[in-house]
């Protein structure tokens, strides 16, 4: 394809990266083997809270293959500091988070010691038998319980278990709005805790070279540079350039592979201490107690409306359970990624939110797909539905009359954000049409009173993504910048490598980024490859999370490409002995305007850039450019999702029957990939509403430690999804793109929850139940409501 008329951007191209995955040739961290490699196994605390009174290394040192046992003391003596928090709120209390516990464990799964042996099986055998003495301490698992008078203290240096108190919005204005209200509703809701469960368990493989003092770390990371920065600068105190972090093929992340984990510190230290490469790979049961968990809010929400059903204000009070330690983004998730999103898509004159961040004896909580925004969306959209039901208004219409209008952008909310662009009604209309909303409502009426009831959940969401701008996140406490970089390297043969600081762990960057480049350079996509995931090869970047890859990384790429084409044009003009202004770059060639035969291909230009036999005066040889892009604002995708559930009132079983959505993330780079992201997101969000629950008992014993107790959605739990989109470009970035990676999850939990509650409201006026909607919970609620209303069967049948 030298003559280019079609654009690559916007095409549903099959992915360039897939051949290796479908043939089993992908290379994930656990697939790597280094010569002389040893294996590490973690000894993990069975207690939620305990003092370690003794570790008897000799109990396992003679076991076959055992090379070393490392305790917290050994790790500290080797110079490892605690793992820092990357986001500091005012007056934040940060308990020390050691790679290996020092004296005290604070959650089930906390690392107590590390056994290194010749094989993985030997390491695990010895780890299981290491003699550790504990004194159990009182423990607490639920955020609100940790705030009670006399609750067990998790850390001595976090009094009352409060890590921070934070608030946003104008409380006086809100109170005034409530005074004027025609009607208010109050909903108490719990956004329960989840385990991300990427199907590839985390793994790390470290090597140390005494000759050069260099470390190499293969690890399951969404952001290798962040890992390098934290490990080198804060934990191990080694020069940053002496640590190369490679995150090769990564089997899903969903946030859980952003953070600095203890095991990465451990393998790097052990590799240096023992002079051998060290590998650790999590068992799934380890993932359950060592991957960061997500959500876990207990909230009260109050919504006020006037006599016309216009929203006047939203009051929110949230207890956010942070778990035993504060991890990388932990303080930001329930505050800036949550509180600032509580305005949703509505014209709220006033919003006020208070968040209390609490430590407990549970696995740390941090960003999980959507990070704060699913929590905000669930809270707003549940509360809006409760109000619509109370008002006797159609929930879709109630939303419609409260939308921010298209001519009101940029829109300043009462909770700090300025929305870039939006047009919410078309998405709502399309979604209602797609799902035949009116007919569903009629069907709902028909089914009433039978043993099958129908529920329709309609939600309209908005998210802030494209995480950056550095100046803003800096003001908010981030100890990091959030721009993105790109390097474009054109080789003499005209083949092109793109390097990005973003990281792909399923998002299809190896296809989407070349699509952007192929259009700008007007060369075949086959000649372009994307390189990512290796701090030794690419320029600095902040990785992939918060749906930032296209909006921030893609924009950086676009800018680097523009530098390439500008230089290429100059070279072509020189070779064609024409003035630069007369050069057209079209159909893959550089032409002199009005002189059809006069042209140079991209290959001619690339070759001459490298041969340098004839370049414009003063021009440097080569054809390579780097760009760093730091946007001025977030981007704000939005959309409407509709879930349809059928509930069997005899059994309480909820079946997700249909699901449809219309999302707007600006122009699509690759619709196939974008749709796939939406599908996966819907499944994860629906999983929270219906099945998934990282349950603890009151003392912090984890009740869902394997896939036997934690229900990840399976193929036969879900329907096919209907998807469509509208296109409202962001005015901020050169591609106009927003983000789509988290939209499905942000929207679907609320949509499915509203569908279930819609059914239960219509059937028996149940206003609210907390997720997940297990059959037992739903069955009991229906039974109690019917009995309460005197419409049940005999109480003792």
């Amino acid at each position: 394809m030298t003559d280019r008329t079609e654009k690559y951007m916007g095409q549903a191209l099959k992915r360039k990266e897939d051949p290796r995955f479908i043939t089993g040739a992908g290379q994930y961290t656990d697939d790597f083997v280094l010569p002389g490699m040893l294996h590490a196994a973690m000894v993990r605390s069975p207690y939620a809270h305990a003092r370690i009174t003794g570790i008897d290394k000799s109990s396992v040192e003679e076991m076959p293959g055992v090379v070393a046992v490392l305790t917290g003391e050994d790790v500290a003596a080797a110079g490892a500091g605690p793992i820092p928090v990357g986001w500091l709120l005012p007056d934040l209390k940060v308990p020390p988070h050691h790679a290996v516990a020092q004296g005290e464990v604070n959650h089930v799964g906390d690392i107590v010691a590390v056994v290194v042996a010749e094989t993985r099986a030997q390491a695990e055998d010895a780890a299981a038998l290491l003699a550790v003495d504990y004194d159990a301490l009182p423990s607490v698992a639920l955020g609100s319980a940790a705030l009670e008078e006399g609750a067990p203290q998790v850390h001595d240096d976090v009094p009352g278990n409060v890590a921070f108190r934070w608030e946003i919005g104008d409380e006086a204005a809100l109170n005034e709005a409530f005074n004027r209200a025609h009607k208010t509703v109050k909903v108490k809701l719990r956004n329960h805790r989840l385990v991300p469960n990427a199907i590839e368990p985390r793994a790390s493989l470290a090597q140390f070279s005494p000759a050069s003092g260099e470390y190499l770390l293969y690890t399951t990371s969404q952001n290798p540079h962040i890992h390098r920065l934290i490990l080198a600068a804060f934990v191990l105190n080694i020069p940053e350039h002496k640590l190369r972090v490679i995150s090769p093929d990564v089997g899903g992340g969903f946030g859980s592979k952003i953070f600095q984990y203890q095991e990465e510190v451990v393998v790097l230290l052990a590799a240096r201490l023992l002079g051998k490469p060290i590998k650790w790979a999590a068992r799934r049961s380890e993932s359950f107690v060592s991957d960061m968990q997500g959500r876990d809010h207990e909230s009260e929400a109050e919504l006020a409306v006037d006599a016309d059903g216009r929203m006047l204000g939203l009051r929110v009070n949230t207890v956010a359970n942070l778990g035993a330690y504060l991890t990388l983004f932990a303080p930001a998730v329930p505050t800036y990624l949550y509180g600032t999103l509580l305005n949703g898509v509505y014209k709220f004159p006033a919003v006020h939110a208070k968040v209390t961040g609490v430590v407990t004896n549970t696995v740390p909580v941090d960003a999980y797909r959507g990070a704060g925004r699913p929590e905000a969306t669930y809270l707003i959209e549940r509360t809006v539905d409760v109000m619509a039901h109370e008002l006797g208004m159609d929930p879709a219409e109630f939303r419609r009359i409260n939308f921010i209008q298209p001519d009101e952008f940029p829109y300043q909310t009462p909770v700090a954000l300025v929305y870039d662009s939006g047009n919410y009604e078309p998405a709502l209309d399309m979604a209602l049409d797609m799902m035949k909303y009116r007919e569903l409502r009629a069907e709902q009426e028909r089914m009433k009173g039978t043993n099958k009831i129908l529920g329709v959940g309609v939600i309209s969401y908005l998210e802030a993504c494209g995480l950056a701008p550095s100046a803003l996140v800096g003001q908010l406490g981030a100890q990091a910048g959030q721009w993105e970089s790109s390097l474009v390297r054109v080789h003499p043969t005209g083949k092109v490598e793109l390097y990005t600081g973003s990281h792909s762990h399923g998002q299809g960057h190896e296809t989407a980024f070349p699509q952007i480049a192929a259009d700008e350079l007007q060369i075949p996509i086959e000649d372009i490859d994307l390189i990512h995931g290796d701090t030794g090869r690419m320029p600095y970047g902040w990785g992939t999370y918060g749906s930032r890859s296209a909006a921030v990384g893609g924009s950086a790429l676009k800018m680097a490409l523009q530098k390439i084409t500008a230089k290429a044009k100059k070279i072509a003009a020189h070779l064609l002995e024409a003035s630069e202004e007369d050069i057209e770059h079209e159909g893959g060639v550089f032409r002199v305007r009005g002189a059809p035969g006069q042209q140079k291909t991209f290959f001619d230009v690339a070759l001459m850039a490298h041969l340098a036999h004839s370049l414009p005066d003063g021009m440097e040889p080569g054809l390579e450019a780097t760009a760093f892009y730091d946007p001025k604002n977030f981007v704000y995708p939005f959309g409407t999702h509709v879930a349809v559930v059928e509930i069997d009132t005899d059994t309480g079983v909820v079946k997700l029957r249909d699901y449809g959505c219309v999302d707007d993330c600006g122009p699509l780079i690759n619709p196939l990939i974008a749709e796939g992201q939406v599908h996966g997101g819907i499944a994860q969000g629906a999983g929270q509403a219906l099945w998934e629950d990282a349950a603890y008992d009151e003392e912090g014993n984890f009740l869902a430690g394997t896939f036997m107790e934690y229900a990840v959605p399976r193929a036969d739990d879900l329907p096919n999804f209907q998807t469509d989109h509208t296109v409202t470009p962001s005015p901020h970035n050169p591609l106009g793109v927003k983000g789509i990676g988290e939209a499905g999850t942000i929207a679907s939990t609320a949509a499915v929850a509203n569908a279930v509650m819609d059914a239960l409201w219509h059937e028996c006026r149940i206003a609210h139940l907390d997720m997940p909607y297990t059959s037992e919970k739903v069955w009991r609620a229906i039974r109690e409501a019917r009995q309460g209303a005197g419409m049940g069967q005999a109480a003792d049948d």
């Binding site: 083997v33 590839e200 899903g252 096919n720």
Partner: protein
Amino acid sequence: MNVTVTVNGKAHTRDVEPRTLLVHFLRENLGLTGTHVGCDTSQCGACTVHLNGEAVKSCTVLAVQAGGMEVTTIEGIGTAADLHPLQAGFWEKHGLQCGFCTPGMIMSAAELLRHDPDPSEATIRHHLEGNYCRCTGYHNIVLAVQHAAAAMREREAGQAADD
């Protein structure tokens, strides 16, 4: 102890600990890392291979149990130059994202298509319930299997016509 397993048509003899699972034998002893480990409770299906033609979770089979048997892994059912219709289907229909579950999905779906050349959506979903995918939401996996089934039926019909 010594075990000989024929993997993708080639016999391999290795000295293994009796407790070695087939999945570890494939990955660590033979370096066939296309078969993945996603759990330790035989729930996720990432490790699915064919043992004497039947799909099994290779984390539930001891290497020694596979002694004298034929194992087919993802590396053995098609190559980049000559894809199995399921591999082509997953590529065509975007049936994968991170690709970690994909080998197991393909091996499991292959068994379904051997028994049922024209499965309905519900049949596919039911058959794949032992294979978790956290990325795709399964929608495109269903399409991928249907796409492959159609391609295989066509190929079959073509062959029948040739005979």
